[in-house]
């Protein structure tokens, strides 16, 4: 666990526009996220990481996995600004989403948090942050 950074937690004073569900299996992920820690599953057989966390290893279909902390650092692979969105996201338009390659070798897609005066571009280094909505957390990324 040493060397793993905690994620910045940013309060957002509304509820999530499209709340994720929690299953018995994914509950540890959401609980850790709320506490500022990023973790996912690692296959007990082949050792491969998976994200989102999965009860079955997508690489070798082994059915035993373990929770592992992840360093919340990576690079922006690509991004876009969404100007026309679904009804539930209307109040947030426009907003940015992006694809992030974590240093750990996992690719994620998530909401981006803009830093005033800096525009996103591919290959920029990012860090993951936790958006603390009134009803629960969401993972997002910011330029480093």
């Amino acid at each position: 666990m040493s060397g793993i950074e905690e994620m910045e937690r940013i309060d957002v004073d509304r509820v999530r526009s499209y709340p994720p569900r929690t299953s018995e299996f994914t509950q540890p992920f959401w609980e850790a996220l709320a506490a500022g820690r990023l973790q996912t599953t690692r296959c007990a057989a082949c050792g491969a990481l998976s994200f989102p966390p999965k009860p079955v290893c997508p690489h070798c279909w082994h059915g035993e996995v373990r929770w592992t902390p992840l360093q919340p650092l990576g690079r922006l692979y690509s991004w876009t600004r969404v100007h026309a969105g679904p009804e539930m996201f209307a109040a947030e338009l426009p907003y940015e989403v992006g694809i992030v390659d974590l240093d750990a070798g996992l690719r994620l897609a998530l909401r981006l948090v803009a830093v005033p005066g800096r525009e996103f571009a591919p290959d920029m280094p990012v860090r993951l942050v936790v958006l603390r909505f009134r009803d629960g957390p969401l993972l997002a990324a910011m330029l480093r």
Partner: protein, 396 residues
């Protein structure tokens, strides 16, 4: 080995057909399909008694009549010992209907099969419609909450493509201009008034860098194909379109690969294309035209590259240079493509087939590709994570 052929086609022009529930007169999908079946059958000069299978694209949830395929077997009073079913698979839905109808021919279960699809959604606003499509943007619990929409994936393809290859906004936008010029010549197209490059670039952004004219419009539509065995097609004495090769590939990812990969190399199209070319015994250079399922300008570029119609990284430049235009080296989407012919999603792939069948039977009028002998259809799902490719051949 049995082979399948297209012998008849029919489609309605893409536009708004569906009416709000509050209106006194409603558009009813099964009446529309019944009329198209009659029209396609006349085109094919086939008798009702010869038809033995129905494969139908699963309609939108806004279509009230449930279990549409079995209902149509009833409405048309068509006993079948070939299958009656609906297919579902994202944007590939109607392509799978075509493909499974062909399978009934290949497996000897039918000599004549109907493949049809109807997509009605225009009584529903875009914002309301997207409430549903947000569930398709990846993992519903891990991706959807971020506000991704289906075309945001393509927008991110565009950003990465411009970053890696130095392609320009204008090059991408030229695809939309070209497609509109094609649509101007297609009576089935939804948007037919010519547009300029400046107009495309001046549109309001939808998913940056793509603006309104580079993303798919919404529309209603319906199409029907009469698929027959090669022997039946030959016996007809009519021009027909032979399915000469076919390939399918799913890369094992939906929208995103959790293992970082080269996202703008469309591996599924590459692999499905290779399988289809091998089956047909041709190479991409032998094609006379291609009809690509490409919801956004960037998708046409990347799919074209994956299918060998342009070198990697040069697809946008090739489009801007006119290579994919009617009269160019390899005309792509002579129908006007999804951006201008229109995109009634669950019927869209059938419109692509209708266009190829028109071209390969020499009936495309002002947009006819001269001496078109070989055409390619490519359909996809997700972020081109799967591709279903058919090589079609003119037989006269």
């Amino acid at each position: 080995m049995r082979r399948a052929a297209i012998l008849g086609t029919a489609a309605v022009p893409v536009r708004k057909y569906q009416r709000k529930a509050s209106e006194p007169i409603q558009t009813v999908e099964h009446e529309m399909i019944a009329r198209l079946v009659v029209e396609a059958m006349q085109d094919a000069q086939v008798e009702k008694s010869e038809v033995n299978a129905i494969v139908c694209a699963h309609p939108r949830p806004y279509t009230k009549q449930k279990y549409f395929s079995t209902f149509m077997a009833h409405y048309l009073r068509l006993p079948c010992s070939g299958v009656v079913m609906e297919t579902m698979g994202n944007g590939m839905t109607a392509a799978l209907a075509f493909d499974k109808a062909c399978d009934e021919i290949l497996l000897g279960r039918a000599e004549v099969a109907l493949a049809f699809g109807v997509n009605m959604e225009m009584s529903v606003t875009s914002a309301e419609h997207m409430k549903d499509s947000v569930r398709a943007t990846g993992d519903v619990d891990f991706h959807s909450p971020s506000g991704l929409i289906p075309i945001s994936w393509y927008a991110m393809d565009a950003v990465r493509y411009m970053h890696e290859y130095g392609a320009t906004r204008a090059q991408l936008a030229s695809v939309a201009v070209k497609n509109r010029a094609h649509a101007a010549l297609n009576p089935l197209a939804q948007y037919r008034a010519p547009i300029t490059l400046d107009e495309v670039l001046a549109q309001r952004p939808i998913v940056e860098p793509l603006g309104l004219y580079e993303v798919p419009p919404r529309g209603d539509g319906a199409a029907c194909l009469v698929i027959v065995s090669e022997a039946r097609a030959k016996a007809s004495g009519l021009p027909y379109v032979l399915v000469r090769g076919r390939g399918f590939f799913h890369e094992g990812a939906h929208q995103i690969s959790e293992v970082p990969n080269d996202m703008i190399r469309f591996v599924a199209a590459e692999t499905a294309g290779r399988l289809a070319y091998e089956a047909a015994g041709i190479g991409p250079g032998d094609l006379d035209l291609a009809e690509l399922y490409a919801p956004c300008t960037i998708v046409e570029v990347l799919a074209g590259e994956a299918l060998g119609l342009a070198p990697r990284g040069q697809g946008a430049a090739a489009a801007a240079a006119g290579e994919t235009r009617l009269g160019g080296r390899i005309p792509i989407s002579t129908s006007g493509g999804l951006t201008s012919r229109g995109h009634p999603s669950y019927a869209t792939p059938l419109y692509g087939m209708v266009e190829l069948a028109e071209q390969l039977r020499g009936r495309a009028g002002a947009r006819q590709v001269e001496d078109a002998e070989l055409g390619l259809s490519s359909n996809e799902l997700g972020n081109y994570n799967a591709a279903l490719v058919h090589v079609l051949e003119a037989r006269r």
